[in-house]
Symmetry: C2
Subunit: 467 residues, 2 copies
């Protein structure tokens, strides 16, 4: 037993010494990063401009174009080594005007409800679409009902997000198939249209849009699809229980245009030791057309820009090339992310680490790492450094839609994980506006991201350590 | 080395077995608590009523009286073993109307600013008070300036909250002496009035009230004191830099009345094994008169009520007496807390644990424990149970103003610690309204509190363990 205790003491001492060595230098640097972000941070001002002076930035829109120019100019102001635009062709879909819907329980007894077209949806026929409506809890129930019960009708997908899940992104993941594939599947059974319960845990009057697919369906089978607010979904469901012959009317004039050219906005500080090894930090510059896209993903963009601003301001000279990428077209195509990965591949660039912020500008809780167990062990050693800032919840899991295409065996992808409780209240809705973002919460996220990138730059990854 | 590894394995196994034993039963119970709170929680509805149908509940006001009746009725609905009102005399201070202020940089060039009287302040003389104004960064600078520079003037306390502190309550603690003691101290140097920068990290137009003291000053020396919005504090400070002879005018008609009778609202489930040992959970029912007091502390009250509702709903029969206490008059007197502790003492009641929620209805991060190191070790063993809900940040520190008077050597006091970033945006201001509370964040707090009380009830404390 004595020997055991002795060994335990030795072990503790050596661990402590190691920890102290890492801690002292690095904890001073992290403190500097957080202080500068909280006192002189620029992310909130940038977001104010993106949200209030530019607004929703759907791919192919004038607003997206203006956001490209604005962020490029702002990055140029930072005195980076290089700032450029990377061209990419993106889809252009336009919502149109006068989205309108009601349900009719009995003739003449109609209730107006709040809808919005899903992104990429076909329009309704001119003058709108009216039909009986049938409620299902998902794609399985749709298939079980089959052609007989579906043909000629509007399908109403009404499976709510599961409130029991603490991480709201899991609840979103458990529902979003209805929005993404609902129209495609319903069309196969002869449905004429689709109404989907908004992906939100909040019961309110705001519909939430989002991307959808028709897969390989021929043009004539592409039926219109819209989201309905959670409050109206509950109303409609109640009306259907009283009268299953309730009819639904909706009108939307959305339209797809040919692809247009847009850009990823990129800036970098070139590495002093390993210029050919790249660390990426980014968010997506496009957003949906409703609201300002302040949380999704204006926040992630300005936080990523702040990472490079902080390094410049603190006069930190990175060993690796640190690159901010504001990806275009995450929401309805992921074209920017694919283009970036393709160009990186063609140029034989080695990306050792990439970090995305695309879960809202809320208080950061930690990071999620798409990594080997060995790489994850490395980051767990850094955990105590993040504890004073309460950003020390580290898990293995997904990273971000825009950085995922960069994943290789040897590298690490990560995503900032802010508190997720409020995210889906605003996500893809009119309510995703600047006033929903708290300055300090946003800044803490940017500072946490900078800290993580600093550590990866200083120490490298398991496969690409700094020698 | 082999022996070391062997012992390490044995140690791991026994730790694991112990952990599993605690974990399995308890983690099932915690899951039930969180599920019920997130699916059928009542706290949000209660808060809606308290905020929107009753409103700000300053001690001695009609609203406070209505809040007493409402919460008593709602507790009675829960089928507790006992619900009662505990009488307590409270101060009655009334804001009055037409609070108004401006500063005048040069004659005729005046800027209207947003102020509100501090709680307990004297009124200005009829028609208002106008004088030169002198800026200080705190009580020390005031004393350094002395009578010569202060006499006849209005003192402007303008030390802001420190944005570098991650826990905003620490930043508040570093400033609040200006508000609490500013008028008393300035009066000693002959000042005629006091203007205090609002205790908020947000730069906006809302003044934040809060309690203040005159100490033993005779009535004639009690000079009027008001809070100014952070934005206007910055403006005024800028104007004073340009012209130190800037004057300030303010008018407020607040008034103190004789004490009136009010009540702590109390309900309990009597313990099955230790009815004489009491566990308290609570918040304070009074609030400031501005806003609805939704976060401060409507949230804490409805979360505490939810604890008892959850136990009844889940048919949990506590071993100890579990008591919810909605304390009256935390904001400007703490009379309810003192009365409760005094009655408990007189009745020889043994309080083994008390928990307060008075830091807003935001996402809970953990708890702070006013406890011995030994008691803190106990709670650290329970930490893994809270990790799935991300409420596992446990620290030793303060508890809550209302439960602190119950502290003895043998017992443990605790406070819920929600995310603190947004709290001081709303604290004591017009903006502390129901719409600032997220339903899930509120419910997670109530569920975390219920979980902690369940564990203390099941296992007891170090000094009063369950045998």
């Amino acid at each position: 037993m004595k020997q055991f205790i002795f060994l335990l003491i030795i072990l503790s001492i050596s661990l402590t010494t190691f920890a102290q060595k890492v801690n002292q230098q690095d904890s001073i640097m992290l403190r500097k990063i957080f202080d500068e972000a909280l006192v002189n941070g620029k992310s909130y001002d940038w977001l104010e401009h993106l949200s209030n002076s530019i607004g929703g930035r759907l791919s192919g829109s004038l607003e997206a174009e203006r956001a490209v120019s604005y962020t490029k100019e702002e990055l140029e102001e930072l005195g980076l080594d290089k700032v450029w635009l990377q061209p990419v062709m993106v889809p252009k879909w336009v919502r149109g005007v006068n989205e309108y819907a009601y349900f009719e329980s009995t003739t003449g007894n109609s209730t107006v409800v709040n809808i919005c077209a899903l992104g990429g949806s076909a329009p309704t026929p001119e003058g709108g679409l009216k039909a009986n409506i049938v409620e299902v809890k998902g794609l399985e129930e749709l298939a079980a009902l089959g052609k007989e019960k579906i043909e000629g009708k509007i399908v109403f997908y009404n499976r709510p997000m599961n409130p029991k899940l603490i991480q709201t992104f899991e609840a979103y993941g458990g529902c979003v198939d209805q929005r993404y594939a609902g129209a495609m599947e319903a069309s196969k059974f002869g449905a004429t249209g689709v109404i989907v319960r908004s992906m939100s845990l909040k019961i309110d009057e705001h519909p939430h849009t989002g991307t959808m697919t028709y897969g390989d369906l021929p043009l004539e089978d592409r039926i219109p699809a819209a989201a309905i607010s959670t409050k109206d979904a509950n109303l409609l469901s109640g009306a259907l229980k009283l009268n299953p012959k309730t009819t639904f009317y909706f009108n939307q004039t959305c339209r797809a245009f040919p692809d247009v050219e847009s850009f990823n906005v990129i800036g970098e500080i070139t590495g002093s030791m390993y210029p050919e090894k790249v660390i990426v930090v980014g968010g997506h510059l496009d957003s949906w057309d409703m609201g300002d896209g302040a949380h999704d993903d204006g926040a992630g963009c300005v936080q990523s820009m702040e990472v490079l601003r902080l390094f410049k301001r603190l006069d930190y000279k990175p060993k690796h090339t640190i690159r901010v990428v504001l990806f275009m077209n995450e929401e309805n195509g992921l074209r920017g992310a694919r283009k970036y990965a393709e160009v990186a591949e063609n140029n034989n660039e080695k990306h050792i680490f990439a970090l995305e912020s695309d879960a809202g500008g809320f208080t950061p809780r930690g990071f999620s790492f798409q990594s080997s167990d060995e790489d994850f062990k490395q980051i767990e050693n850094w955990k105590p450094l993040f504890e004073p800032y309460l950003v020390h919840y580290f898990v293995q899991g997904g990273s971000g839609a825009d950085v995922a295409p960069l994943k290789k065996d040897y590298n690490v992808m990560a995503g900032l994980r802010p508190d997720s409780q409020r995210y889906f209240d605003y996500h893809h809705a009119h309510t995703d506006t600047f006033d929903k973002v708290n300055k300090r919460e946003l800044e803490l996220g940017g500072a946490a991201m900078t800290s993580l990138i600093y550590l990866y730059d200083k120490y490298g990854t398991v496969n690409d350590p700094v020698e």
